[in-house]
Amino acid sequence: MTFLLQMIVTGIVVGSVYALVALGFVLIYKSSDAINFAQGEFLLIGTYVCLTLITAYNIPFVAALLIALMFSAVLGFVIERIVLRPFIGEPVISMIMATIGLSSVLAGIVHIIWGHETRVFPKIFSEKPVNLGEIVIAPVYLWSLLIVVVMLVIFTLFFKYSKLGIAMRATADDQQAAMSMGISVKMIFAVAWAIAAIVSAVGGILLGNINGVNASLSAIGLKVLPVAILGGLDSIPGAIIGGLIIGILESLTGGYLDPLVGGGLKEVMPFVILVFILMFKPYGLFGKKEIERV
């Protein structure tokens, strides 16, 4: 029983990080209908920048985190500008292909700069486990959960109430009508990419603190694609719930099934669930219903 709870709590924490990263997919999909296959590299770059600032320049964690986030935002902005903007108005598939190309290029750059050995974050959070009733949990998990929750709340408020957030939702609904309001659609795309880079970086840094950092961390980018699709690809609450479902199921698979089959099941679980759910709900759990009444 304690083991089960332990697995579930771990799943919730990891799943919440997935949800945050999936938000990046959702934003880009909502604004430009494209899927960003370079998201995993965004995650990796943000994480490495933060790690390098801490280890090589002795900058305190919080400051390093903020600088890494700013760096990611700029990276997202710039990449949107030079790589993706030429594809506005072209078929979506061209933009998706461009992100695949981008992903290889960024992966190459990361490899050149940081190599491929696993690095670890210096111990930032206290290592003394916290006892929550019967379960024992490392502080890094609690901090991760807290940071993710805070970020999700900030983004929710941003989209619900801020001028830019409303403009982003309007653009997702009807691009040309948004232009007729004087909304700069290019600017909205750029912001979507910047936010996607930020949430990826935060996700990477949190998971990096839990598991260490190497190039395979970018696989998380791909792993959260099922999360986003599960949630309906265009729904923010959907991404959150999708993240939690995948996180928990993954953790349970790792805890109960992997020892029986000798491991590896955990990694494919998200995709198995994805296929299964899409068979019944082709638009994901929370996919946008097209409102048609003219």
């Binding site: 403009a167 009807d174 009508a177 309001m181």
Partner: protein, 262 residues
């Protein structure tokens, strides 16, 4: 004052749609732009608002000026900032946004953010129905309510010139009358200059000061409302009030052919 001078518009670099279109919209007035399907009315509005560029359309000749300043070279957001706001054909409300969020989106380019609350109230004053629906998703509104919302977004932008593209589209006659009387009221109370495109010539001319009639990408006739209303051709072909009974289709064709050479 908005001036369109000898404008030529091409889509996709080959389809010539406006062929020397000229018109003037004087400050504080309501001008009606009438014409049959495909005449190029919507294209004219998009040329003014800069939305053409998002459809691979381009002003290839002539110019458009707002108070003597050329705007045909600007992009859509700059033109909104300069004070021209287009309510697009088919209403185009943001379906998944609430009514109130739609209104806030309408005010996107406004610098005086603190007046936005009171302007939302103003929209509710013109369209009391919207206030009751303010938290509803706009996609679920009826056609008439969506049209009110589309015009409401226009009020929120506080434009100098409001471009309305077929506000009567698909609405019941009574509602059309109501909406047009509100358009007139907005013109009076806010001092907004209005250019309204319509198929429904009757109702458009009922509120307008001046009218233009376009065929095939250019203006074929213009005049004060009184003059247009007393013109035999206008009465026959746009108001459906032929004095000698219905003409045959052949006659209408020859009329069009004649007009093409004007």
């Amino acid at each position: 004052m908005l001036t369109i001078n000898n404008v030529e518009v091409m889509y996709d670099k080959v389809i010539l749609v406006l062929k020397g279109m000229s018109m003037v919209v004087p400050k504080g007035k309501i001008v009606a732009l009438l014409g049959s399907n495909g005449a190029g009315k919507t294209t004219t509005l998009k040329a003014i608002s800069g939305l053409l560029k998002s459809e691979n359309g381009e002003v290839t000749d002539g110019f458009i000026e707002l108070y003597g300043e050329r705007i045909d070279v600007n992009d859509a957001e700059t033109i909104v900032k300069k004070g021209i706001f287009q309510c697009m054909e088919g209403r185009r409300v943001f379906k998944h946004l609430s009514v109130e969020d739609n209104l806030i989106a309408g005010a996107h380019t406004r610098k005086d953010r603190k007046n936005i609350k009171s302007d939302i109230q103003k929209v509710y004053h013109y369209f009391p129905k919207l206030e009751m629906l303010k938290h509803r998703q706009a996609g679920y509104l009826s056609g008439g309510e969506q049209q009110m919302l589309a015009i409401g977004r226009g009020i929120m932008a506080k434009p100098k010139v409001l471009l309305l593209d077929e506000p009567s589209l698909g609405l019941a006659p009574l509602l059309v009358k109501e909406i047009f009387s509100i358009i007139k009221k907005i013109n009076k109370e806010e001092g907004t200059t209005i250019l309204v495109v319509e198929q429904n010539a009757n109702v458009a001319l009922s509120i307008a000061d001046y009218g233009y009639i376009m065929e095939n990408g250019r203006i074929v006739m213009d005049g004060t409302v009184d003059r247009l209303l007393s013109n035999q051709d206008v009465r026959e072909f746009y108001l459906g009030m032929g004095d000698k009974g219905r003409k045959s289709y052949k006659d209408i064709k020859s009329y069009k052919r004649r007009k093409r050479w004007l």
